[in-house]
Amino acid sequence: MSLLGRALVVSGLLAACSTSHPLPANYAPTEAAISAADAIGAQQDPRAALHLKMARDQLAEAQTLTQKGDSDKAVLACDRARTDAELALMVKRESDARNETNQSKAAVERLGTQ
């Protein structure tokens, strides 16, 4: 086994033996996606709010799995949470865009009757 291989094995063992379990690498982007969805007002749209809740639930699941030392499943749960957060964000953006479009169309109609 090469020196690099041995080093990886040692570091893996050290990580496994450690009492504190580091959060998965995709944890930060997931949190950022949840914050972004929250900031845009996803709570105000029923469908977006549902996906935002699912994102939070699955992030909590990822944290629990991390604490249990199951980092592989934590990473997968984190991915699920991030996808739901992205969907919540996009659903709200689409809803806003649709409302603005309808307002613009109404303005055109009002102007058309002048």
Binding site: D72, K73, L76, A77, D79, R80, T83, D84, E86, L87, M90, V91, R93, E94, A97, R98, E100, T101, S104, K105, A107, V108, L111, G112, Q114
Partner: protein
């Protein structure tokens, strides 16, 4: 007994079958969601997102193949389903944005059109106003000219005749000796010149006119009456020739009936021999 081994074998076979086939419900949902996204009209707006959904589904399918029913398969299938939904929503969003841009462009076009129409109307109104002002200027000029003419005519009337107001209206008294040769009813050249000035003044008015012929008391009543009528008619005819509408003028011979001075003196008789042109008051018409 042979039944126990057979039963065990059947369970084993069923378990084996379940283990090698049958995607998880999550994977089935993901496949359906991907099909929906791929065939939706909105997909044309988000081809990259549809591709991402396909790649996510491929990862879930691979996990199913490698480790069917696993946590990994379920998680990746869940993510794939969400990616497919994202592709549809993103397509909706792109469609909304394009519709919004189109509506804004339409608004601007219509706004420009209305502005141009308003500017055109304003320019037309300005042109009309200028035309009206020019017309007004012309009318005012004409009015001033008419007023000047009328004033000049009245001034000339004062030079050739006595003008006064009484109950009948404005009375212009012309000396009979200036208008006619004694005992005749033909206008003298001097009379025509004076009456031409009178006609100018009368043409500035729209009142009805009465021409009264008067004589002194010398001679018979019948002669005086006829002579005064002939003289009033002669004045009327001349005024009509000068453009005063005939339907406005009435000629009356009054003979010696209405003297304005004593017939006992030559001066008094001269004053009584006269023609009066009466512009009737409007209220009396």
């Amino acid at each position: 007994m042979k039944t126990i081994p057979i039963a065990i074998s059947l369970v084993s076979l069923a378990a084996a079958a379940c283990g090698t086939t049958g995607p998880t419900p999550q994977l089935l949902d993901a496949r359906r969601a991907y099909d929906t996204a791929r065939t939706s009209p909105e997909a044309q707006y988000s081809p990259d997102r549809v591709l991402e959904a396909k790649q996510a589904l491929d990862r879930a399918e691979y996990a199913h193949k490698e480790n069917p029913g696993s946590f990994q398969e379920k998680s990746l299938a869940y993510v794939a389903e969400r990616r497919a939904e994202l592709a549809v929503v993103y397509g909706d969003y792109e469609r909304d944005v394009k519709a919004h841009e189109a509506a804004d462009a339409q608004y601007k076009t219509r706004e420009d059109q209305l502005r141009r129409e308003a500017q055109g109307e304003a320019a037309e109104t300005r042109r009309e106003l200028q035309g009206t002002r020019a017309e007004l200027g012309t009318v005012q000029g004409d009015l001033k000219d008419a007023q000047r003419t009328a004033a000049a005519a009245v001034a000339s009337l004062h030079q050739i005749a006595n003008v006064k107001e009484d109950a009948r209206g404005t009375v212009i008294t012309l000396d009979g000796s200036v208008l006619f040769v004694t005992g005749k009813s033909e206008l003298t050249p001097l009379a025509e010149q004076k009456l031409a000035d009178v006609a100018k003044a009368l043409n500035q008015t729209d009142q009805n006119i009465t021409i009264e012929g008067h004589t002194d008391s010398q001679g018979s009543d019948a002669t005086n009456l006829r002579l005064s009528q002939d003289r009033a008619d002669a004045v009327r005819s001349y005024l009509v020739q000068q453009g005063v509408p005939g339907d406005r003028i009435t000629a009356i011979g009054k003979g010696k009936a209405d003297p304005i001075a004593s017939n006992d003196t030559p001066e008094g008789r001269a004053n009584n021999r006269r023609v009066e042109i009466v512009l009737q008051k409007k209220s009396a018409q």
